[in-house]
């Protein structure tokens, strides 16, 4: 499977390996849609388990975005990972797996990563007017949007 994808994308597949028996691959963000589409259509990864992200503030490309996929016919999992810088956008995978809708919204809500072509990209767990992205590493654990709390809840602090 990896060699097939490598034949198609060459160096776009940066790494394909496994850790503790779990397969993963790291790909360039420019070919991510194509890789995901091929995985679903040709490799039978029909179920998108999760979409999530990681923040490494000291890296040039700060974010890892990760798709965890599962294939019902093969009973196999794979993780597809790509890296992007702050402010860059990724193509949405909602057209490939509708379940990515809320999952991508949560990534946007928590990390501020935008997905192009998402039907309704807005905050999901936090209120719409909230400022800041809590799961970034530079967001403190007791930090909050004081202004939002004061206006909407009428109290000094939500703590």
């Amino acid at each position: 499977m990896v060699s097939k994808l490598k034949g198609r994308h060459g160096t776009g597949i940066r790494e394909a390996s496994s850790y503790l028996g779990q397969n993963y691959m790291v790909v360039e963000s420019s070919i991510i849609t194509d890789v995901l589409q091929v995985l679903r259509d040709q490799e039978q990864f029909d179920y998108c388990v999760d979409v999530t992200a990681l923040h490494y503030p000291n890296r040039e490309r700060q974010f890892d975005v990760i798709w965890i996929l599962y294939s019902f016919p093969r009973n196999e999992r794979i993780r597809v990972k790509t890296m992007i810088a702050d402010g860059e956008t990724l193509p949405s995978s909602v057209s490939i797996w509708p379940t990515a809708n809320w999952l991508e919204r949560e990534v946007y809500d928590m990390f501020g990563i935008r997905f192009d072509g998402h039907p309704d990209l807005k905050r999901i767990l936090l209120p719409d007017g909230w400022k800041g992205y809590p799961l970034r590493k530079d967001y403190g654990i007791i930090q909050q949007d004081q202004e939002w709390v004061q206006i909407n809840l009428g109290i000094e602090s939500g703590q």
Binding site: L20, D50, F72, N75, R79, T99, D128, L135
Partner: protein, 389 residues
Amino acid sequence: MTEPTTTDPKAYLSHLELGEPDKTFLDTNELIINMGPQHPATHGVLRVILKLDGEKVLGTECVIGYLHRGVEKIAEHRTYTMFNPYVDRMDYVAAVSNGLGYCEAVEKLLNVEAPPRAKYIRVILTELNRLASHQLWLGTHALDIGAMTPLFYTFRDREEILKIFEKYCGARLTTHAFRIGGCLYETYEGFEDDVKKFLDFAPPKIEEYEELLTTNRIWLDRTKNVGTISAKDCIALGVTGPVLRASGVKWDLRKAQPYAAYSEFDFEIPTGTNGDTYDRYLVRMEEMRQSLRIIRQAVDRIPEGPIMAKVPKVMKPPVGEIYHSIEAPKGELGYFIVSDGSTQPYRIRVRPPSFVNLQALDIMVRGQLVADVIAVIGTLDIVLGEVDR
């Protein structure tokens, strides 16, 4: 100054491609109403905005996050051991399952394995918890639809399970029953007798629930062909658990990718055919019986030996990441843990089954009646603590 967050429901629905209302002689207008967040049938604080044509649902939008506590953020500021009790607070009616998933994920990352006896204790308690979760679901779901008696029956019987939990670890709901590497507590004196007594006690009770509902005319009317979802849609929307199985997909992580000691037991995966609310009810009823079957085998064969593997006092898993998932009562519950080699996880992502399943609400209720929305929310078996985390 920022504008206060909008509470106008119309703003939420602007992006949906909604159907036009039927032309009738009454020329009814479309109606947009709020259900929740404070509404007894939403099982917590879920706000659903409904667009209606008379009583017919044209589209919905869920507004969630009222119970958001930032569990994933908290995890990054705690050690692996300290975070263990937090997972119980997500799906608080199936706390034992949450703990099992988390402990196993960290164990994989540390490359240790729980001893056989610990695995058996885990299976027994987790399956008891599945039963308790299904009983709570049945009671509240039936209450939503208008049958009050099952609630009293199921809560009466669920009490017996909670008593076992309480005797085992001192807590009834947020049990914190397992530790990374095994179990902290050895079974108490008489644990096996208590479990066996429960195994004899439960089957006639399940019969009793079925007698009340399975052929009940009103129950059939309210659940048959309500909230139907096809297997194809389930997979596309990532729906798992009993909802997926009721649509005819024979898939259960306990069989597909066995964890704990599940590969050693004999049990069936019940499936449905129509994928409607009634099939989901039947699937969960059968799952309760299968859980009893697993518990009986586990209690008969429980091995002697240690209950805790050798784990370091200060846990520093090697740099790397792991995804581990289990079949929780509501579906696939996954933990994606990234370690940077320190005592605290770099990131813990929880893949909650309720959150993903709730996404299917919209396509399940379109074209149905308002009253069916209540039935469908009930049948999805969501827990808002897990949806919002």
